[in-house]
Amino acid sequence: MFIIANAGPFALYRWEALFKDWRLFADAFLYTILLAIGSLIVAMLLGIFFGSLSTMHNKLLNLISRIYVEFFQNTPLLIQFIVVYYGFPLISPMLTFSTTTIAIICVGLYHGAYISEVVRSGIGAVPKGQFEAAYSQGFSYGKTMRYVVLPQAWRIMLPPLTNQIVNLIKNTSTVAIISGADVMFTANSWSSINLNYIPAFAVAGFLYFILCFPLANFARKLEENNKKAYTR
C-alpha cells in the first residue's frame, strides 16, 4: 500500500489522471485496431499472391516471389517506415503519403512476406502423393489445389498464420515513430507532459495484451486440434 502514499512514479494520483483521460487511450486503441485490420488485409492479399507464385512450377515467378520475401524479411520494419516517411517526399512531392497509409502499407508489405512463407510452406507440407493421386484421377492443377491440397494445407497454415497476426498487431506500434496516434504514441505523448509514464505504458501494454492474447490462445488451440487430427 505504500506505493500509493508517496509521490514516486507509481503513485495513485498518476493512475487517476490516466483514467480521467481514458478517451485519449480509447481513440488510440481504435486507431491501432484500424491499422491492424488495414495492414492485415494488405498482408493477406500479398501473402496469398506471392505464396502461390512460389509454389508454381515457373522459375521466373518463383524468383519474383523469392526477391519480395527476402527483401522484406531481411530489412527492419523501422527502416522501411523511415525511408517511406522521410525519403519518398524527397524523390517527388507526389510520394508524400499520410501516416496512416504508410503504416498500413509498410506493415502490410512486411507481414505479407511472412504470410507468403506460411502459405508456401503450408502447401509444400502436403505430401507429393496427394498431388499425384489427384492428377491420376484427372483433376486439373486448379482443381487439385482447390479440392485436395488447399483443404489440407489450410489446416497446417492456420496456427502460424494466427501467430503472424499477433506479430502484425504488435508491429503496428512502429507507427509511433512517425507520429501516428496509436496506443504506443499516445502513451508516449501523454506521459511526457505529465510524466505519468508508469501508468501510461502499463495500460498500453495491457491494451496490446488483450488484443493479442485471445489470438495467441486461439493459435495454440488450433495446433492442439491438428495434433489430434493426425495422430490416432
Binding site: F2, I3, A5, N6, A7, G8, P9, F10, Y85, Y86, G87, P89, L90, P93, T96, I177, I178, S179, F185, N188, S189, S192, I193, N194, L195, Y197, A202
Partner: protein, 269 residues
C-alpha cells in the same frame, strides 16, 4: 485441464502484480533514505549527469573529439568541481526529452541538465533549481515558403519534439492570434530537421537558441517568439538536499558572472 489453465492464469497475474508492488516498495525505501543522498554522491566521487547530445551550443556530442560540448556540460563540470573537487568527475549520459525523466527516477542519473523547461506540473514530480537560462519558442521554416510571422503559418503543420512543452506554448499563442495549427510529434531534433527538409512539416518549432543550431542555407528562423521557457537543473524529488546545494551554486555563478562567461563561449545571450 480447464481448471489448471485458470489456476495458471491467476498465478501469473498474481506474480505480475507482485512484481509491480515489489518495484514500488524499493522505490519507497529510497525516498526515506533521502537525507544522505548528497553525501552519497560526494562519496561516489563522480556525478552522473544527463545532457543532450543533439543540441549544438547547449549539449552536443562532438563526433570528431568524442566529447560532450556546450553550455550544459560546462555547467555540469562546474558542479562536479564544487561537489567532488575536480571537474573531471562527471559521467555524461546522453538523454532525450523522453528518457530524461525515467532515467532520473530509476537512479541512473543524479541530475539532468538538458534544456529541461520548468513547469508547475513537472515540479510535482521533480525538483528544479532556479532557472539558469531563459529562452522563447520560435519557428524554423523553409525560405522558399516565404512565411513572415506566426499568423502566416495558419493551418500549417508544425513539427514539435515529443515530451517537450513546445506544443502547449504554441497552442496558447495560436489561441491568442485566432489561428489553428496541425501538429506532428517526432522523437528528436534531427528527425524534425529531416522532416522539414522532406516537407513533412512546414515549420520546426522549439526554443529559439536550439533552432540556431539547425539553420542552414535553405531555412530561416522567424522573428516572432513567445512564451519564455525557463531551464532548470532537475533532480529527483527526494533529493531536496542536493537541490538546495545546486540552487546555491547557480545563484552564486549568476552573480559572479561565471554563467555569463559560459554563455559567451557558446554564443548564447
Amino acid at each position: 485441464m480447464k481448471k489448471t489453465k485458470k489456476l495458471l492464469g491467476a498465478l501469473s497475474l498474481a506474480l505480475l502484480l507482485g512484481l509491480i508492488v515489489g518495484c514500488g516498495g524499493s522505490e519507497d525505501k529510497k525516498t526515506t533514505a533521502s537525507g544522505t543522498d548528497l553525501q552519497k554522491i560526494k562519496d561516489a566521487g563522480v556525478i552522473k549527469v544527463g545532457v543532450k547530445e543533439d543540441v549544438p551550443n547547449f549539449g552536443y556530442m562532438n563526433p570528431d573529439t568524442n566529447k560532450n560540448e556546450g553550455m550544459e556540460p560546462d555547467i555540469a563540470r562546474l558542479i562536479a568541481k564544487e561537489l567532488t573537487g575536480s571537474e573531471d568527475n562527471v559521467e555524461f549520459v546522453g538523454v532525450t526529452a523522453k528518457t530524461r525523466g525515467p532515467l532520473l527516477d530509476n537512479g541512473e542519473l543524479d541530475m539532468v541538465i538538458a534544456t529541461f523547461t520548468i513547469t508547475d506540473e513537472r515540479k510535482e514530480t521533480y525538483n528544479f533549481t532556479t532557472p539558469y537560462y531563459k529562452d522563447e519558442v520560435g519557428f524554423l521554416v523553409r525560405k522558399d515558403d516565404k512565411f513572415t510571422d506566426t499568423a502566416s503559418l495558419d493551418g500549417k503543420t508544425i513539427g514539435v519534439v515529443q515530451s517537450a512543452t513546445t506544443k502547449e506554448a504554441i497552442e496558447k499563442q495560436a489561441k491568442e492570434l485566432g489561428v489553428t495549427f496541425k501538429y506532428q510529434e517526432l522523437g528528436s531534433y534531427p528527425e524534425l530537421k529531416t522532416a522539414l527538409t522532406s516537407k513533412r512539416i512546414d515549420a520546426f518549432s522549439v526554443d529559439k537558441s536550439i533552432l540556431t543550431g539547425y539553420v542552414d542555407d535553405s531555412t530561416e528562423i522567424l522573428k516572432d517568439g513567445f512564451s519564455p521557457q525557463e531551464y532548470g537543473i532537475t533532480t529527483k524529488k527526494a533529493n531536496t538536499e542536493l537541490n538546495e546545494q545546486l540552487n546555491k551554486s547557480i545563484e552564486k555563478w549568476k552573480q559572479d558572472g561565471t554563467l555569463d562567461k559560459i554563455y559567451k563561449t557558446w554564443n548564447l545571450d
